[in-house]
Subunit: 415 residues, 2 copies
């Protein structure tokens, strides 16, 4: 592959997740799934393959950083240079449910990324591909983490970015899109996909979000999520956790995490795989239903849920493949349980998306983990991006008696 | 000092920044400034002193972390265990003004902290002191970064937290306060200080924000900002930057950064100090006016400004001392320039507080730096905490011609 920059990446080809696992050159990125196997109903995504036999510099030790994993990641264009990841594990063992007490529970706080979510790990590589393909403008359909992350990474790389969003998008997300100099198009929810497909046909416009009925996304993107696995291993000084619990929408993240651990295993750095646990809102849950029905993808009803980060009605094949290969778990969490757990995490100093709270709630459904080691919960994004509930803030008087009475009456203080 | 935990901290005493530099035991923290020198008009803050002669494990190399600086930080209570800092330097040299072209310009992106601002570096140590003094409830007056950070760190440590805020506080900040389980009291702006002083008298209530007319704050807090200097040195592999440009309100941060570099200098790790540059909104700017008038602190009019993070009308003595000792600069930036620079940083993938944009704007006022090395701009907090401007998001149609026309008309695309 002839790239306009030096890279230590050992990525070789795009490979279909379908059977047969047809291979394609690394670029152009295949944005509509595997061309050979795609039908009208089902499109299989692609992943990157690497020349694993030539890996020589990879380490997973406490001092390891992304520089130590360059061989196992897609080529990174010099303009896609935003520092991403390196997020800490935060101990929340105090929140373990009674039947798991004594087990170390850690939150991987991915709200400490450049745009305050895990999506930066994906977009740094989709943007790298866009740069390699000499795109001038990227396009992304998202009113959440994905859109703002793509906007930031595009801005940094000097690319235009069109964000297909909705008129009812929160002020926070709208301000972020504009803040990164991207161009929002406000469209009714049902209009976004036709608009995406129409604009993607224009010359020079490069999509970094999905174009197909079954989610396939960009083949380079999920490779970025492997760094979550690598960083967890580094923070645990090379030891494998018992499990990683992952809020799951289209399922690119859980696939990337699975693949990262799998590579560490195949390269001999760990001697067992952690259990992967996908968590979806019970009102939706396409991955869960696909697994139950023995299918690759399904479409579910758009049931109402406050777990906005994972409120998808379709899934891609990636999470299904990851959970089958890992003998992982797929759990549904209802909004009430997610909100309760989200609140508990806040009381531990972590104010995240509600959908990340669902990972803690999911522990109630897991009897025991077969392996030792900590359980890692993915904390994906800051609570600051959630829509704020309008509410009146009632002023109180400043004299001590009024203050004391307010604290005792409203908050149960004993003063 | 008898602490209920092991520590490698070499902190010995609290020492007044007044003349004479009277010393006091490390605890209880003196929250109303130096008792010996305090008058009704002027209160001098205190800092911590250390047994520098016994320092042995401190390093400032690429792999250095907070564990390598424990000797130079206040004792950290085991319950104040939130991972803080470790934030990256992001290259924005492309934004250098013409007369500084060729100079490396880096943003220290402190929005990647647990509550997405630099304030976590301060609160991890104020909360540590509160725990050492067996406080049960902390109190903080803030409608911004400081309040939400204190709330999070208190929650993690198992302490109650009362936040004195205003009815007009943004939904984002209000939601964060509640999300961390803190107790907001909504007070008119002028009522906050009397309320703070009244509540601070109640037994078991421990203030972590200022109690005095001249800002003195908590003596342990600014020590946390030394880690900004340490991390910059580590990221530059031990080399001193040419300058650090710091958004300045009460001025605890610039003092901490100054002190951190000063320690590295006195311990022989660097052979010259970087120039410290304080940046304030031109509508306020108490530090600037204090320096101009040769005074320790001044009070200025509450002129209107969008630089909310640094919109203070009084200063503490710390920034004045730091800039005098460092022969640093104190610059005023007007809102228009701050907004323009803030927008440029967004186009570089960094969407921060407007007051952080002022650091980039300040470069226009600096002819040259006397030393080689990069210039570091402090990026303090995420733009997500700024109030959002209400705005109508006009829906557009999904057909290609309408989309194309919208992009060309509204955003100047050529399609």
């Amino acid at each position: 592959m002839n790239l306009p920059f030096e890279t230590r990446s050992l990525a070789t080809v795009q490979r279909s997740l379908a059977e047969p696992a047809t291979e394609y050159p690394l670029l152009p990125a295949l944005l509509r799934g595997c061309p050979e196997s795609a039908t009208e109903e089902m499109q299989y995504p692609l992943e990157l393959d690497y020349d694993y036999g030539r890996v020589k510099d990879v380490t997973f030790r406490r001092e390891s950083t992304w520089a130590d994993w360059e061989e196992l990641l897609p080529p990174r264009h010099p303009k896609a240079d935003m520092p991403v990841g390196g997020t800490p594990l935060v101990d929340v063992s105090a929140l373990a449910p009674a039947h798991l007490s004594g087990r170390r529970i850690l939150v991987k706080d991915d709200s400490r990324n450049p745009t305050w979510s895990h999506k930066d790990r994906l977009n740094v590589f989709t943007i790298s591909a866009a740069l390699c393909e000499e795109a001038k403008t990227i396009i992304v359909a998202s009113s959440g983490n994905h859109g703002v992350s793509a906007a930031a990474m595009a801005a940094r790389a000097g690319l235009n970015c069109i964000v297909l969003t909705m008129p009812e998008v929160s002020g926070a997300i709208r301000d972020m899109i504009l803040g990164y100099g991207a161009f929002p198009l406000f469209l009714a929810a049902d209009d976004r996909w036709p608009a995406m497909r129409a604009l993607a046909e224009l010359p020079g416009i490069y999509p970094v979000s999905n174009l197909t009925p079954a989610h396939t996304g960009h083949p380079w993107g999920p490779e970025g999520y492997k760094t979550i696995a690598y960083e967890i291993l580094a923070d645990l000084d090379g030891a494998s956790p018992a499990a990683v619990v992952v809020p799951t929408g289209y399922g690119e993240m859980i696939y990337g995490i699975y693949k990262g651990f799998r590579e560490a295993f195949l390269l001999g750095h760990i001697d067992r795989m952690p259990r992967l646990v996908a968590v979806e809102p019970s009102a939706r849950g396409p991955v869960h239903h696909a697994l139950q029905q023995g299918r690759s993808t399904v479409t579910v009803e758009a049931g109402p849920t406050v777990q906005l980060g994972t409120a998808t009605t379709v899934n891609g094949y990636r999470p299904v493949a990851a959970i089958r290969q890992n003998r992982g778990l797929s759990l549904l969490v209802d909004d009430e349980a997610a909100l309760r757990a989200h609140k508990k995490l806040g009381r531990c100093g972590l104010w995240l998306e509600i959908s990340s709270g669902a990972t803690l709630a999911a522990l109630d459904q897991i009897e025991e983990f077969e392996n030792d080691g900590p359980v890692v919960l993915m904390g994906c994004s800051t609570g600051l991006k959630e829509p704020s509930t309008p509410k009146e803030n009632r002023a109180t008087g400043a004299d001590l008696e009024t203050l004391r009475a307010t604290l005792m009456r409203d908050y149960g203080f004993e003063l």
